[in-house]
């Protein structure tokens, strides 16, 4: 691959970058050494972009950590050792890292330390839409939020200086549209940092036992106070004042991040940008009190435009109360804008028009509305998970019972949809095994409890829960869907492949050995290729019926990874076809198995395989009760 433009050492050049690439560029320009984290949409492209840069800037020490907590700790170990360090994760990843994060904020930063939290309003690729600005309030550290890719680059570069100046960790919060949106960015200089690196044996700081922590907490509060005093001069905050009125009212707007950019578009749309005061925040915690007081003087009504929780709004209302002006000043926020989901562009237009009394016509709904059935994401053609879930369903049917299929975060979560309907729970990473521990304590024996999760998720946080099951005799069957990739987030490697983020081959961790090490009896461990459907059914049925804690490893390389490898190596996949004479149109393959390559020809009442979609996994050959599906061998 050629050198990506974001890795160029060419200050002043303007290029177009994905938000996540711009963040990576800022990290490069700041002279960061350690980058660690765990993949999670919408944060996943940041560390791989750094890994690309490492080819040209070998000072980086990067890794995919086993989970976000370890990723945070790796980065913080860097900060303790006086190098600039960054921990990268999605919003829910910070929940995992929070044990370390909350106390590390007491001890503070030595080398500049930034934690990136990529939030996901609207849950585009997440199990919730929590607002991680509260982690700043909770841990008493500043929260930065950029509005554009250019600002993201500049702001994260600045965040490392800031972190060192105040000895504070910085929480760098973004939302989906910033991470996964492109914008024009001007490259800056790549900074070289010459200083002494290495651990500093300051036990009163790094050993957070009660007597030390009490002292550290006082320092933490002092730091927050200093930052709070500085907030008015924070370079990415800006206040634009206007004395003009609209329909007799002086309006002020407050926003940060993507909502700030969208707000400007909406104000421009109505041509009122210069008729209102605007406080743009780059530091969303702590908030700049003097700037707010100035805004209070110039306005009759203030509108806080923020997605998710009323975070800024509540602090602002508190400040207005302290100033004794909460009666005369109207502060809007969640009375106008929704508290759930992402704001679409017209939400800004409608609310501003309503508030200030400007005409805005909603887009009319056309007559003869056409309803398009939803196109939900599905398991790919040739996905090994589909075969495993099909096997589980077949066994359930044969045993005339219902299993409790406790599952987890990954592509296989898509098995919840028709026709597989193969999972019953999904809460958090590694949660499948933990939940199964509890469910198994209650569920009668006739309903076997399965915990179904992927290889990367098992490494992430499944292991302690498996040991828990062994130790506490919680009778469960753990099914590990080992597709040798963290596929949903972009096929990142994990300990199962042993390939590092730099693509260097490292040491593989063998799941079978690991499971044995967790205390699972060797005769309670089964391994089978996910594509061998009949063998899987046979072995898995034994596993379901066996006693104690059991582990079944269903293994086949992710079909997307395999297809890409074949394309590069010019290898053709097997050709699978349906014998039109033998097909009776029973539709078991289409309606029960549901591979997208299997199509029903309505006119002939037969199934055909779309050769462009088929990846040649051959599982449907075993699914077909009529033996109508076959592999065509080219002569």
């Amino acid at each position: 691959m050629s050198k990506p433009n974001y890795a160029e050492d060419n200050p002043g050049k303007k290029i177009v970058m994905l938000g996540n690439e711009a963040i990576a560029r800022g990290i490069l320009e700041a002279g960061v050494v350690i980058g660690a984290g765990y993949p999670g949409t919408p944060s996943s492209e940041i560390l791989p972009a750094l890994a690309e840069m490492q080819k040209y800037f070998p000072h980086f020490k990067l890794e995919w950590s086993i989970n976000e907590k370890v990723g945070f700790e790796v980065a913080y170990g860097g900060s303790m050792s006086n190098v600039r360090s960054v921990a990268v994760m999605k919003h829910v990843g910070l929940n995992v890292a929070s044990d370390a994060f909350m106390t590390a904020c007491y001890a503070g930063a030595r080398g500049g330390m930034v934690v990136i939290s990529a939030d996901d309003p609207n849950c585009y690729s997440s199990q919730n839409e929590q607002d991680n600005r509260y982690f700043g309030l909770h841990a008493l550290v500043p929260v930065f939020e950029p509005a554009t890719p250019q600002e993201a680059k500049d702001m994260i570069k600045y965040a490392f200086n800031f972190s060192e100046e105040y000895h504070s960790l910085v929480l760098f919060r973004t939302t989906n549209r910033l991470n996964h949106g492109r914008g024009d960015v001007i490259l800056g200089e790549v900074k070289e940092i010459n200083r002494d690196y290495g651990f500093d044996w300051d036990r009163s700081r790094w050993v957070c036992l009660p007597s030390h922590s009490r002292v550290l907490r006082v320092r933490l509060l002092e730091r927050l106070h200093e930052i709070s005093e500085f907030a008015d001069e924070f370079p990415f905050n800006s206040l634009k004042l206007s004395k003009e009125k609209i329909n007799g009212v002086r309006y002020g707007f407050v926003a940060a991040g993507i909502p700030y950019s969208q707000l400007l578009d909406a104000l421009n749309f109505f041509g009122i940008t210069n008729k209102v005061s605007i406080l743009k925040l780059g530091l969303v915690y702590p908030l700049p009190k003097k700037l707010f007081k100035k805004l209070f003087e110039f306005t009759d009504e203030i509108v806080v435009v923020e997605e998710l929780e009323p975070f800024i709004e509540n602090i602002l209302k508190q400040l207005a109360f302290e100033e004794g002006i909460s009666k005369e000043l109207k502060i809007h926020g969640k009375d106008l804008f929704p508290q759930n989901g992402e704001f679409s562009a017209e939400i800004y237009l409608e609310n501003i028009a309503n508030l200030v009394g400007l005409p805005y016509e909603k887009v009319p709904v056309p007559e003869n509305m056409m309803i398009i059935p939803p196109r939900l994401p599905i398991l790919c053609p040739g996905c090994g998970h589909r075969a495993t879930f099909y096997a589980i369903k077949q066994i359930e049917k044969k045993m005339k019972t219902k299993f409790v299929n406790s599952s987890d975060i990954g592509c296989y979560t898509l098995a919840v949809y028709k026709p597989l309907k193969g999972i019953d729970t999904q809460i958090c990473m590694g949660g499948s095994i933990g939940l199964a521990n509890g469910i198994a304590k209650i569920q009668p024996e006739k309903n076997p409890v399965l915990a179904i999760l992927g290889d990367s998720t098992f490494f992430h946080s499944g292991i302690p829960a498996l040991i828990n099951a062994v130790y506490n005799k919680n009778n469960i069957l753990v099914v590990i869907l080992d597709n040798r990739a963290t596929s949903m987030t972009g096929f990142q490697d994990n300990p199962g492949t042993g390939i590092l983020i730099t693509k260097e081959q490292g040491i593989r961790v063998i799941i079978e050995d690991l499971v044995k090490g967790c205390g699972v009896s060797p005769d309670k461990i089964w391994v089978e290729d996910s594509y061998n459907l009949n063998k899987t059914i046979e072995k898995l049925k034994i596993a379901v019926k066996a006693e104690g804690v059991r582990v079944f490893i269903s293994r086949h390389l992710c079909s997307l990874v395999e297809a890409n490898r074949r394309r590069v190596q010019h290898i053709k996949p097997p050709i699978v076809k349906v014998d039109q004479d033998k097909c009776v149109g029973c539709l078991i393959c289409v309606n029960k198995f549901g591979c997208p390559a299997l199509n029903f020809d309505d006119s002939k009442k037969k199934v055909i395989i779309d050769q462009a979609t088929c990846r040649g996994c051959k599982v449907c050959i075993e699914v077909c009760p009529q033996n109508a599906i076959y592999e065509e061998i080219e002569s």
Partner: protein
């Protein structure tokens, strides 16, 4: 010609090259020194689900999202996806649609109907008179590489003068985002799209 703000919505099905098109178009806009913004679908939504990317450029663009009814162009790599996001279009919107429907597998399983090209076309005519269907899949297949469909559609976008960017910028952007072994076939795909675009340009209702 200076553009204040041009708003395009590109839709399709995960795997059709929607993200690649966003990369190409945003780079082409940058080559003409515009401010550029995109918003794209990554992650879970790519697994055969509906994908959409917004592209905005001009001298007056701030955020990446486009309000409903205000899109200049809807570039659809799959026809039913154009109908799905109809409310982003208004009377001014030009629809350039790949004349192909990918029926979601679940439709077979649920035994429900899925709209066809005729129904989609009739429905969209309620919104805009500028609806154009292009056999882009077929054109790409004729070139021997079905993955060039998105570049055929970019050619149509350029040939029909629906996007205010120079052809040279688009070619340069296309080539910079594709591996050299497929440069020739994509150049051809782009040229074929341009010719197709020129033909439909005559039908524009302006």
């Amino acid at each position: 010609m200076e553009i204040k703000s041009y708003n395009l919505l590109n839709v399709g099905v995960g795997g059709q090259g929607v993200i690649r098109a966003a990369q190409i178009l945003s780079y082409a806009a940058l080559l003409e020194d515009y401010k550029v913004r995109t918003a794209e679908t990554h992650g879970m939504a790519q697994r055969g689900g509906s994908v959409a990317s917004y592209l905005r450029f001009g001298t007056e663009v701030e955020g990446p999202l486009v309000p409903r009814g205000k899109t200049d162009t809807i570039l659809a790599f799959e026809a039913s996806e154009a109908a799905r996001i109809f409310n982003y279009a208004g009377p001014q919107t030009v629809f350039l649609i790949n004349k192909s429907i990918i029926i979601p597998p679940v439709i077979h399983q649920m035994n429900i109907d899925y709209p066809d090209i005729k129904q989609i076309s009739e429905f969209l005519k309620n919104i805009s008179q500028n609806i154009y269907f292009i056999n882009a899949d077929e054109m790409a297949m004729n070139l021997g590489n079905r993955r060039t469909m998105n570049v055929v559609m970019l050619g149509v976008l350029s040939g029909s003068q629906t996007i205010p960017l120079k052809r040279e910028s688009l070619v340069r952007a296309i080539l910079s985002y594709l591996p050299t072994e497929v440069h020739d076939v994509n150049k051809k795909a782009f040229e074929m799209g341009i010719e197709k675009g020129k033909n439909i340009r005559g039908d524009f209702n302006e």
